[in-house]
Amino acid sequence: MTVVFILWLREVKKYLRSRVQIVASLGGPLMYLGVLGFGLGPVFRRAGEGSYLQFMAPGVIGMTVLFTAMFSGIAMLWDRQFGFLKETLVAPVPRLAIMIGRTLGGATVAVLQGTLIFVVTLIAGFRPASLLAVPLAFLVIALIAVIFSALATAIGSSLKEMQGFQMVMNFLVMPTFFLSGAIYPLEGLPKVLGALTRVDPLTYGVDGVRGLLIGRTHFGVALDVAVLVGVGVLFVLFGAWRFSKIEA
């Protein structure tokens, strides 16, 4: 337990110390929020869908959590060869404790970053329908964070070269974001695109957060949470298995 805690604490401490990185990582989401949010706003309104900022704020929060969580896993690749990870791999503690400490740490950092973006959306004019639902929305955000931290751990354990990083960004992280319905409604999509959005776990995350924050949901919050919990368990098991196979 202490092992899980200290590894979790390490991730959080490092995050809080990296002020430059915190500010820098706000850049992407801010651009989406500012440029897309305000740029596409008039079109969205004319289509009778209401405020685009209201619609996409949950999507941008989801995006932030996705990106932060995935980056922590990619960093692992470096960490394995030139960093602290190797030190933990020869320590007399179970690999599972290390994996859980790291993954929870990465997930916590992703939630913190998501919180920061949530505050930014509030400043930009986003208004949740009910304040009572905000803590519930954060539970869903935490689920998203755990899912992608675990996936990132699995990838970080499996990749051998830094070049793999580009592959993961272009073929996994970006599609996960664009297929999630973070920036467009899921209703009336072409069949193929609709099917693709349904296999993307982030879709259910964003839909759940949106359901709780602005009362607009495609699948219903209950189904969203059920899918997220299921995928979460699966990915954590997968991540733990890949992590146990690392040969330094």
């Binding site: 490092k14 470096w78 190797k86 830094m162």
Partner: protein
């Protein structure tokens, strides 16, 4: 110094696919000695260290550390050694103290002992005044010293040092070996080291094993190796044993990352 072997390696083979990195290697390391493991690039040094530190499993053969077999007593064995890898394994975004503290938790050193021993070791390695500074502000030599101090925190019986002086200037190297010698005496810790600097091995090692193409080609004290090869320096003895051909290994993923690291970190 006792004659009881603390490390016993018998007929160990390690293959990666078609490549046999370590080919039927046997040797003993006695408790309390400084043992140097020398060989050209790609000879099998790091693979052997990885097997002795439970990171790799031998394809066949047996190895023991303090009477324990890594296949059956991995956790107990891990408590008994400390290791400084060829590539850094410190967390450079944490302070020296925090790096030591996490290590102590990972090795289940009780809180009070952890604090006392951290202070003793940081003082010994002349890092006490910098204990609350982030490791990324440290010089190469300081980082190495911190890694060695950290590897000793849980009072291991064996300390593995894989090319600990690589990339250090002569002053830092000299100081490093003085430290290693001192702690070998003070803590009675067995030291297992690899290096490419023959003068260092000559100076600090009680016994030396030379490995080439995955096989042990000679074992003995520096004097014995010189006598055996009829040479007057360890460097000459080493070349006589391993030849003068340059070993061009194909670059591994780790090598490529090392090059990137050089661009970014220096």
């Amino acid at each position: 110094m006792s004659d009881q072997p603390i490390i016993r390696v018998q007929h160990v083979i390690k293959s990666f696919g078609k490549v046999t990195a370590v080919n039927d290697v046997s040797f003993d390391v006695r408790a309390g000695e400084i043992f140097a493991f020398l060989g050209p690039n790609g000879a099998g040094k790091t693979t052997t260290i990885k097997m002795l530190t439970t990171l790799l499993r031998p394809t066949s053969g047996s190895l023991e550390l303090d009477g324990l077999d890594p296949a059956t007593h991995q956790t107990e064995m891990r408590r008994r050694f400390g290791v400084v890898f060829q590539d850094p394994s410190l967390d450079s975004d944490l302070t020296a103290w925090e790096n030591m503290d996490i290590h102590g938790v990972l090795y289940h050193v009780p809180r009070r002992a952890r604090r006392e021993r951290t202070e003793t070791l940081l003082r010994m390695f002349e890092l006490w005044d910098r204990r609350d500074d982030l490791v990324k502000t440290f010089s190469g030599g300081m980082k190495r010293r911190l890694e060695i101090a950290r590897g000793l925190l849980h009072t291991p019986k064996v300390l593995f040092l894989d090319e600990p002086t690589l990339g250090l200037d002569p002053q830092s190297r000299n100081q490093m070996w003085t430290h290693v010698r001192n702690l070998n005496q003070a803590e009675r810790v067995t030291v297992f080291l690899t290096t490419h600097y023959m003068d260092e091995a000559d100076r600090v090692a009680d016994r030396i094993a030379v490995i080439d193409h995955g096989r042990i080609v000679a074992t003995g004290s520096s004097a014995q190796l010189k006598q055996q090869t009829g040479t007057d320096s360890l460097e000459a003895a080493f070349l006589a044993l391993t030849g003068t051909t340059i070993r061009d290994e194909s670059a591994t993923a780790a090598d490529q990352m090392r090059q990137v690291a050089r661009v970014w970190r220096r």
